[in-house]
């Protein structure tokens, strides 16, 4: 317990759900407050800008649907990452796994001679596998060779980004695309349909929400989920209990990377209809998903909510670019500020703050004495 001015801080061991929610909201609001400086910097009144963004995003269904569209890849990647984080496997590689899924989907869409009706299911299936296999590599590296998972997953992001770069400049460069570094456009049978009047490729959204439910069930009710929790919370006990680390990490990363791969399929089949440079396909969804999963504290269902929050920030960034003429990079600033505030406010969840009573000493060294 500490005293600071008129306030007293008391530790609490387990934060209540209400405290978590309240503190998170307060942190986001505080981040918005800090971000208003950016608007000043561009010579705009922040309050008007916020009001305008609010009206712009929530005003009509098509504009609000952009929040959903942006949230889709974040949900899929974020849910996958909660699973990995529960096993204490630090998967920083969702970005690369997403790109791997996009590459596989493009391969199926453009180069695999399959019946029309099979094309999309096969794109999702191979996209999942590609993302999964790309993620299993660091799992095996860690178990067999003790390679640090943070570093290996991060490095593989760059490797995959260069592979995509190479493909769109080289072998897969579309002959009909003249000078652009694009592949050819997907045939119609390889494109996802939208909710009417929007760009929400609903099939991927449904997959994302289903994934959150499945992973929740998996963690609570299956043998794998149980082993994930044991491995994540006490590796010593997991060894003692004879749990196979290789199998657990490989499966977890197959699923985690696979979900990111699905997100990649959704982006190329739903939005771009072609493979193009990595920065265009992902805009850092895989990295933002780390924050999404971290904020969700290992709960896949909460990750859906936090993904929506960051979908909102992305959509607001789009709106600011088109309507207010601000650079899109502002979303990066926003993400940073939100993350920063949430981490700093995190402390508050474990401390109860109240007004000090009169007799409470400043340092609390002597305590209140009677007699």
């Amino acid at each position: 317990m500490r005293r600071l001015g008129p306030l007293v801080f008391e530790p609490r061991l387990v934060p209540s759900r209400l405290a978590v929610l309240g503190v998170s909201l307060a942190a986001v609001l505080f981040a918005l407050l800090l971000a208003s400086a950016v608007f000043y910097g561009y010579g705009r009144n922040p309050w008007q800008a916020y009001a305008q963004i609010g009206r712009g995003l929530f005003g009509t269904w098509p504009s609000f649907s952009e929040v959903l569209r942006r949230a889709i890849p974040l949900i899929l990647c974020g849910v996958g990452l909660t699973l990995a984080f529960r096993a204490r496997f630090w998967n920083i590689g969702a970005e690369g796994q997403l790109l791997a899924g996009a590459v596989a989907a493009t391969g199926v869409a453009l180069f695999l001679p399959v019946p029309e009706g099979w094309r999309l299911p096969l794109m999702f299936l191979l996209g999942f596998l590609a993302g999964g296999v790309w993620a299993v590599i660091p799992a095996l590296l860690r178990v067999k060779l003790a390679v640090n998972d943070v570093i290996s997953t991060l490095m593989l992001n760059y490797v995959m980004a260069y592979i995509v770069e190479w493909l769109v400049h080289g072998p897969w460069k579309g002959p009909t695309m003249r000078g652009f570094a694009y592949t050819d456009a997907f045939p119609l049978s390889a494109r996802l349909s939208y909710l009417p009047g929007t760009r929400v490729h609903w099939l991927t959204l449904v997959l994302g929400i289903a994934a959150a439910l499945v992973v929740t069930g998996l963690l609570a009710r299956t043998r794998l989920g149980y082993e994930v929790r044991v491995v994540g919370q006490s590796p010593e006990a997991a060894r003692y209990a004879g749990i196979n680390f290789t199998a657990v990490f490989a499966l977890v990363m197959l699923l985690s990377g696979g979900l990111a791969g699905l997100a990649g399929v959704g982006e190329v089949a739903g939005i771009h209809w072609r493979l193009r440079s990595p920065g265009h396909i992902s805009m850092g969804y895989g990295y933002t998903a780390i924050i999404v999963a971290w904020l969700a504290r290992g709960s896949p269902l909460t990750a859906v909510l936090t993904a929506l929050l960051f979908g909102l920030i992305f959509a607001a960034g789009d709106y600011m670019k088109t309507a207010l003429g601000l650079p899109f990079q502002i979303t990066g600033v926003f993400n940073g500020l939100v993350l920063f505030c949430l981490i700093s406010f995190d402390l508050l969840m474990f401390w109860r703050v109240r007004l000090a009573r009169k007799e409470e000493a400043w340092t609390g060294s002597t305590g209140s004495s009677a007699r």
């Binding site: 009710r221 043998r223 794998l224 929790r229 919370q233 006490s234 209990a241 004879g242 209140s368």
Partner: protein, 521 residues
């Protein structure tokens, strides 16, 4: 830190510490129920009670880690409100926890300087070194300030903890089960230190489950049961039987019912086993023995002579570099822990909290660890919560695990109840071989008696039991044959009936038993 040197006269001086009507509730339990407890200067006051009686909770309240729901704390005649360990330290209260809280890669001096008010920012350890030496001289606590903590034995680490408290000016020292990590010799040294501190007017609260120890060290003894104080007695006026009765609420048999040993077929055979320790040095150099169904083989020896490595190799947690292990006629050398456990080899590990349980998982989930992947708990990869619950319910009843509910995280159980949970899990699967490392350390007399009885029942039901313990009394009481380890080798194996304490003592010191070869293994 001046106090009366002579025996305290409670009327003339207010007690050093007075806890009055302390109540503390946790979800599902009243850990302390209107507890009143007084400690005088110059006294060693022992706190005794079953596992989960609320001793640690009461001390955590005094040390500012928990706040009582109601009740008063008085220190030297003043009513105080202790809201953090820092405030407790300022009031002259120091605590040595059961699990030490030292920073392992740092030196002793650095650890002591950590968080100490008035130490210079630069080179704090140097400033503290002199004071440290002076204190360790005065109380007979030899430590080298420049050694790194991970190099120290448990006993030495404990000395550092005590010095940490003393250098902060502790007049009241709380020791929570200090002797459970010590060898008997180290315990004797600790008692000498406590006697010196007592003579200087410190007050000491001493928690232990070992009745002999409490009777010889303490001046007064307070017994708790289920959160309440049963009574406070003078050590000079009581005896083991009375204390046990107060603690458990019934008579405790100190003599176990032990049937004659009828060894059956060979269950575990170990031949010429070699293994290295964590630092890559040889910890086992050619260990050979066998355990048959229906018998208990006790492994005696001073800690650190390879017992830990032996258990780890036998349970698949450490590689055997040479030699072989045969379990039920099958060569299982260097096979996985899961295979061994599936074959019926139960393991009661030495490191309970770190290895034996998953602290954040619930009691019921912990009870099926190791069997979670087999029917009836798992079917086609899905867990069966009903089966888990039913099994857990029965285990909690059969093994008298005190827990608020099956869903309580295992880390919230008291130390003794955590051990019961582990035993319940390991013994309920009708194991063929039981490997138990220090199964009763830290347990109250009642639980110790029950657990020893459980091990004997395993033997009667035809399990082969390997019992590793530093408690010679326990080994003599339970084992049918006794093997003594010294520097990674077995010095000899003697039938319990023929074992003399002298002979075992000599072997523990490295004297090889001559008959060992001719008698076989």
């Amino acid at each position: 830190m001046v106090g009366p040197v002579h025996a305290p006269t409670p009327d003339a001086h207010p007690p050093l510490v007075l806890l009055k009507d302390i109540t503390k509730r946790f979800p599902g339990v009243v850990a302390n129920d209107r507890v009143t407890f007084a400690l005088h200067a110059g006294e060693i006051h022992a706190l005794l009670g079953e596992n989960g009686a609320g001793k640690t909770t009461l001390m955590n309240i005094l040390y500012g880690l928990y706040r009582p729901d109601s009740g008063e704390i008085w220190v030297k005649g003043r009513r105080v409100d202790i809201r953090s360990p820092r405030e407790a330290i300022q009031l002259g209260i120091g605590m040595v926890h059961q699990h030490f809280k030292l920073v392992l890669p740092h030196t002793v001096a650095e650890n002591v300087a950590l968080g100490l008010a008035g130490t210079p920012f630069w080179a704090p350890a140097r400033a503290i070194g002199r004071k440290l030496r002076e204190l360790s001289q005065r109380y007979g606590l030899p430590v080298d300030p420049d050694r790194r903590v991970w190099e120290l034995s448990a006993g030495e680490q404990q000395r550092v903890e005590i010095l940490k408290a003393l250098i902060r000016g502790a007049e009241v020292l709380i020791l929570d089960e200090p002797t459970s990590v010590l060898t008997p010799q180290e315990a004797q040294e600790l008692f000498k230190v406590l006697a010196r501190m007592k003579a200087e007017g410190h007050g000491i609260i001493f928690i232990s489950h070992k009745l002999d120890e409490v009777l010889s060290v303490a001046d007064r003894i307070t017994v708790m049961r289920r959160g309440r104080v049963v009574g406070t007695v003078l050590a000079a006026e009581t005896n083991k039987a009375e204390l046990a009765r107060m603690m458990v609420g019934r008579e405790v048999v100190f003599r176990l019912r032990k049937g004659t040993c009828r060894p059956g077929e060979e269950a575990l055979l170990v031949e010429d086993l070699h293994a290295r320790n964590d630092r890559g040095l040889w910890a086992l150099r050619g260990v050979t023995f066998r355990v048959c169904r229906g018998e208990i083989l006790g492994i005696a020896g001073v800690a650190g002579n390879g017992q830990r490595e032996l258990v780890e190799v036998l349970t698949g947690l450490r590689r055997a570099e040479r030699g072989r292990i045969v379990l039920l006629g099958r060569d299982v050398t260097n096979r996985s822990p899961r295979l061994l456990s599936d074959l019926g080899c139960a393991h009661v590990p030495e490191e309970r909290i770190r290895m034996g349980i998953v602290p954040a998982l619930s009691v019921e989930e912990n009870l099926v660890l190791k069997r979670h992947h087999r029917p009836p708990f798992c079917w086609r990869g899905l867990l069966r919560p009903k089966a888990v619950r039913a099994f857990a319910q029965k285990a909690v009843e059969d093994y008298a695990i005190m827990t608020p509910s099956l869903r309580t995280p295992a880390k919230l159980l008291s130390g003794g109840n955590i051990q019961r949970l582990i035993l319940a899990r390991e013994l309920s699967g009708k194991p063929a071989v039981v490997i138990a490392a220090h199964p009763t350390y830290g347990l109250d007399v009642g639980a110790t008696e029950q657990i020893r009885q459980l091990l004997l029942r395993q033997r009667e039901e035809g399990a082969a039991v390997l019992l590793v313990s530093e408690d010679l009394e326990e080994i003599l009481e339970l084992a049918d044959r006794i093997a003594v380890m010294f520097r990674g080798e077995i010095m000899g194996i003697v039938p319990a009936g023929e074992a003399s304490l002298e002979e075992i003592g000599l072997m523990m010191a490295g004297e090889r038993r001559l008959a060992v070869r001719s008698e076989g293994i």
